[in-house]
Amino acid sequence: MSDPVLPLGSASFDGLVEVREIGPQGMITLRGDLSAPEVIAAVTDLAGLEMPGLRGANTAGDTGLLWMSPDELLLLVPYRQAPAAVDRLTAALDGQHVLIVNVSDMRALFQLRGTQLRDVLAKLAPVDFAPEALPAGELRRTRFAQVAAGVWLLDDTTARVFCFRSVAGYMFSLLSTVADPDSQVGFHVK
């Protein structure tokens, strides 16, 4: 198997928050009826995590279950295990009306870490980043400036952001700009 290539080769920037491209992350998209017991059993068995509810993001390390839309779930698995996980899910859901595709190389993934996290993110998206509005463990799909993005908080100082691979360079520039040390806002964190 050839070596995976990250869109930006692990680019990183240190400012108000530490921005770092992480990965490679195995990603499997599953479309189907997320309330079907067979689907829930198959994905929770594979990931070893609870089925996420509306906009939920249940993650542990590099495995996770992200609620993307009413009929779409994104499974995070270790990169090397993605093809086997697809085979396992496909076998487990044989006969069900579902679509399972390995999309590991489709997206870029960034990790943001720092106390200014919510202020930094709030500069980019039309989203309320207050702790009550977006608690840790909730996925918010939105736009960051001009591109579609998804973001979820692992805890109060760590977030993960994903976007399409084709706009990874744009996203990294954006995140670096809003994390500029001279651009502190001090709204969510004084």
């Binding site: 509306l54 839309s69 009413p70 799909r141 939105t142 736009r143």
Partner: protein, 109 residues
């Protein structure tokens, strides 16, 4: 700023996160329809000052279509409801009547 609550994912989505889909509840008439019916389906649109029903798509979010009722004058949003319906829900119509007595829109009032 126009903010809708997406009925599919529950997110409070700003207008810039959505895509406008034009007027809601437009009916296409079946085979054998008259030219007038087809013209109405294609071109005749409401342009109200006040209560309006529209389709929107949460394009940068969950990707789903939904319906919304709002006031074109004040930008007040009365509510949103799922796309899989031919009529706005009764409780939404009651809510609009409470706020805008005597309103009408096409054959709704």
């Amino acid at each position: 700023m126009l903010t809708f609550e997406c009925p599919c994912c529950g997110a409070h989505a700003d207008e810039t996160e959505l895509h406008a889909g034009g007027e809601a509840h437009i009916k296409r008439f079946g085979p054998g329809a008259s030219d007038d019916d087809f013209e109405g389906y294609l071109f005749t649109r409401e342009n109200p000052k006040g209560v309006h029903f529209e389709r929107w798509r949460h394009v940068n979010g969950c990707g789903k279509w939904f319906h919304a009722a709002r006031c074109t004058m004040t930008m007040e949003v009365f509510g949103t409801y799922p796309a899989q319906t031919f009529q706005p829900p009764k409780d939404l119509l009651d809510k609009i009547t409470e706020k805008r007595p005597g309103w009408s829109w096409r054959d709704l009032s």
